[in-house]
Symmetry: C2
Subunit: 115 residues, 2 copies
């Protein structure tokens, strides 16, 4: 998925979908799908934000934040997303791990917080 | 932190520390610290694994998995880690977000699962 930087999430509790993946070689339509899925995710009920990055080795981590497990399940079942999930298994990823977690505590730091 | 690929985590529940960060320019000792912290984390009680990646834009995500919140707190207080956290705020990161979450469900996919 594309890299929009930091997610501006509310105070916990909320939910995180942690998606770790290894890309196969070649684009094969991945870039445009990733952009479309980021756009579509942002339209889902309860979507709170997303953070995503991928190294030159093709290993990437995307974390999407939602307000509830129910809204995560609805996003999983979204028809266009479900088609992308199948294409992901067929073409784009050699391996992925997906974990659904409840965020209980959060901290942050910005340079502007110094002194 | 260094990129060891996928973490081999047990069945949920367990905990995830999701660390999203923006690096400042220049290495300034970051690489050797990251290697040392990955080594040190792996020695902590309750450590289950780590996944980490960073893009060319300096935005990175590291997720460390632990068996309990108590062991996450102990790792936060580890003296060598605490010194690295301070150096992170002083030198290596312009911004970070740290979230502690309880992993409730997990799925995975490997190419070898096909057919």
């Amino acid at each position: 998925m594309s890299a929009p930087g930091f997610a501006k999430t509310p105070k916990p509790p909320y939910y995180a979908v942690i998606f770790s993946s290894q890309r196969t070689d070649g684009d094969n339509g991945y870039g445009s799908m990733a952009d479309r899925m980021a756009e579509l995710a942002a339209q889902q009920p309860g979507f709170l934000g997303m953070e995503s990055t991928r190294g030159a080795d093709g290993f990437g981590i995307t974390v999407a934040y939602f307000d509830s497990e129910e809204n995560i399940r609805a996003w999983k079942r979204n028809a266009e997303h479900a088609a992308a999930q199948k294409q992901g298994r067929d073409v784009w990823y050699s391996h992925y791990e997906l974990r659904v977690a409840k965020v209980e505590r959060a901290y942050n730091f910005h340079t502007s917080q110094i002194g």
